[in-house]
Structures are given as structure tokens and as C-alpha cells.
Symmetry: C2
């Protein structure tokens, strides 16, 4: 299938290079990460990086989209899971916490929620991407609560969009708290209490 191209072969794999760039942005910020740092992380030199991914912002947005895709996939899995509402939301939070604490020092937070807001004030492209992701989180969780309501886990009178926005808010907070260095224990407790409050009918 993938017939070999004509010229000199690449010395890097675009997918892993993008992931390494993503991790570099994740461990810092957009403005705070230099092209030299990205080149060092990917093992490429600047011109190759530029040829492969465009300028710095383009590379950031490609990283952003990669993370946004993973998040959408996680939301989809959560909604489609054959589990009670409580278990589904709890598992979603657990997965998020594991990722937010996956850094070398266990304090990375969320790539999107921790690096994009700072830039959103001055960069309308990043801001637009952030808006899209926030809506996807709200929307995905709304589907989850809607499904829970249909399954009888929630009263028919429950406001599913309101609960979804609160559930999303806690996700935002988990991201910030994790980046501030909160322990897994603290984050787990917050997630568990939130699940109890939002998934048990009142």
C-alpha cells in the first residue's frame, strides 16, 4: 500500500514526533515552550519540524486536536458503556485523574484545560478550539445523564444539562488541582463525592 516515496527517507515517525511535541507543550505552556525545546523533544531540528507541522501555533493546534480527539473518544466510551450511571461517570473521572497525574512528577493536569485558557485571551484560534472542546465535554456528559435518566437511574424531572455542566466543571477543576500537585487521594475523593451528588436522585 504505502509505496515508498522518492527521496531521502524520514528519520522520524510523524505520529510519535507529534506526541512528543504534545508532551512538551503539556509540561509547559504555548508561549513558554520554545521551538528549540520542541526540536529537542522530537529529535528533529527546527526546519524539519517546520516542514512537517508548520509553525509553532500550528503544531500546538495539532497537539490540541489530538488531545481533543482522545477526550471525545473517552466521552463516547463513557456514554456507550453498559454500566449504571454512577459507575460510568466514576470510571470517566478515574481515567481522567490517571491521565492528569501521569507526568513524571504526577502533576500535569490537562493539556487543554491548563494551557489553553491562558492563551485564549490573546489568540482567537486557540480560544475557538477551547470553546469547541468545552462544548463537547458538556454535550457528551449531557448525553450520559440523558441515558441515565432513560435507564431509570435518574428521576424524569432531573435537569440533565445542568448536571452535565456541573460534572464538567468538576472535570475542569480536577485538571487544575492536578496541575497544582493534588494527590490522587484528594482527586479521587472529589470525583467520588461528585458522582454521589449528581447520580443519586434527589
Amino acid at each position: 500500500m504505502t509505496e515508498k516515496p522518492r527521496g531521502r527517507p524520514r528519520s522520524y515517525d510523524p505520529d510519535t514526533a507529534l506526541w512528543q511535541a504534545l508532551e512538551t507543550f503539556w509540561g509547559g505552556s504555548f508561549t513558554g515552550t520554545s521551538l528549540d525545546a520542541l526540536a529537542a523533544a522530537t529529535g528533529m531540528n527546527r526546519p524539519s519540524l517546520y516542514a512537517a507541522f508548520g509553525d509553532k501555533k500550528s503544531l500546538y493546534l495539532k497537539s490540541f486536536d489530538l488531545v481533543a480527539g482522545l477526550m471525545k473518544a473517552a466521552l463516547r466510551r463513557t456514554v456507550e458503556a453498559e454500566k449504571p450511571l454512577e459507575a460510568a461517570l466514576g470510571d470517566f473521572y478515574n481515567e481522567a485523574i490517571a491521565i492528569y497525574r501521569s507526568g513524571p512528577d504526577g502533576a500535569r493536569g490537562c493539556f487543554i484545560l491548563c494551557t489553553a485558557p491562558a492563551e485564549a485571551a490573546t489568540d482567537s484560534d486557540i480560544r475557538a478550539a477551547l470553546v469547541t472542546t468545552l462544548k463537547e465535554i458538556d454535550g457528551g456528559l449531557a448525553m450520559l445523564f440523558e441515558k441515565g435518566k432513560a435507564a431509570g437511574d435518574l428521576s424524569p424531572a432531573a435537569d440533565t444539562t445542568a448536571r452535565a455542566q456541573i460534572a464538567a466543571s468538576v472535570l475542569h477543576s480536577l485538571a487544575i488541582r492536578a496541575r497544582a500537585g493534588a494527590s490522587k487521594k484528594e482527586l479521587d475523593a472529589l470525583a467520588q463525592h461528585t458522582v454521589q451528588m449528581l447520580c443519586r436522585d434527589m
Copy 2:
């Protein structure tokens, strides 16, 4: 009291200059804001700025402390208010939303919650300041719910620290959503639903 100093008088007021620097950081980020921009905003030139506030990070941290002080004062007012729990938390959110949307384009978010997380990963001083503020928010709101429980607004069995952390989480989210450009209507709705969920006994 304030006897005049000996030399050439200052051409600026330190307090207003600090506020102007704060607003400049607020409208951008720490790494993304240049000393030239700060000098232009304050009307001072770089050497004066340096003499008055130290280097860039020191100026950022002074701005941070100023905002943290205002936030603590708001929390204190909320806890000490002679109001039912629901009204007190609702007013607190309303005040926050007004500030978060006070920018020229109505999309500033929170200085601390929107600019500090990005830097927290690489700067331990900023991270420490962020940790302190997060704890102050959690702690202040915990006192509010504790007071509500004592006043009978909440069941004696209610977990006040859990509710406080969820209330704080929604504040974090309001900050992010505001910076992403959410309307006052959206933010008000989220705040109101949160108040209803957290302040009514279940």
C-alpha cells in the same frame, strides 16, 4: 505622616501602576506578557518598573497576591454575610461572574485560575501560590457550608468539605468558561443550578 522623601518625586502611583500591570497580565499570560507591554500599560519605563517591583516574576507574584487578597476578602464577606446559605453562595458567584466578565470584551476569566495553571508546571513559586489560593477557596467555602449547617440550612449529616470542593470546582469552571467567552446568561445558569444542588438538603 508620610514625610516627603529627599529626591526627585515619583511620576506614578505604585498602587495604580501595580493594578495596571495586573490587568496586563490578566489580559494575557505571564510568559506571554513582555516588560515592554507592562511598561506601556503602567506608563513607566522599564528601569523604573524594575526599581519599584523587582523583576518580571516578582511583579507577577505581587499582582497575584493582590488578586488573592481580594478573593479572600470576598470569601470572608460571603461567610460573614447575614444571609441564608443559598443567597450567600449565589451572591458570591454573581460577584465572581461580574469580575470574570469585566474585561473590554467581557472574556477575562480569573487572573489566578486562568494564568497560573499554565506556569505552575514549570515554576514552583507560581505553583505554590496557586496551591495556597486553591486551599483558601476550598477552606472559605467549607466555612460557609459549615455555617449553613449550623443555621439549619443543611442536614447535620451533610459533608460540608465535599460540598465546598464542588462549589469551588464550579468557580474554577466559571473562570475558564468566562475566558472562553461564555455569556453572562450561561454562567448565571450554571451558578444557579449549582447553588440549588449544593444548598438544598437531600
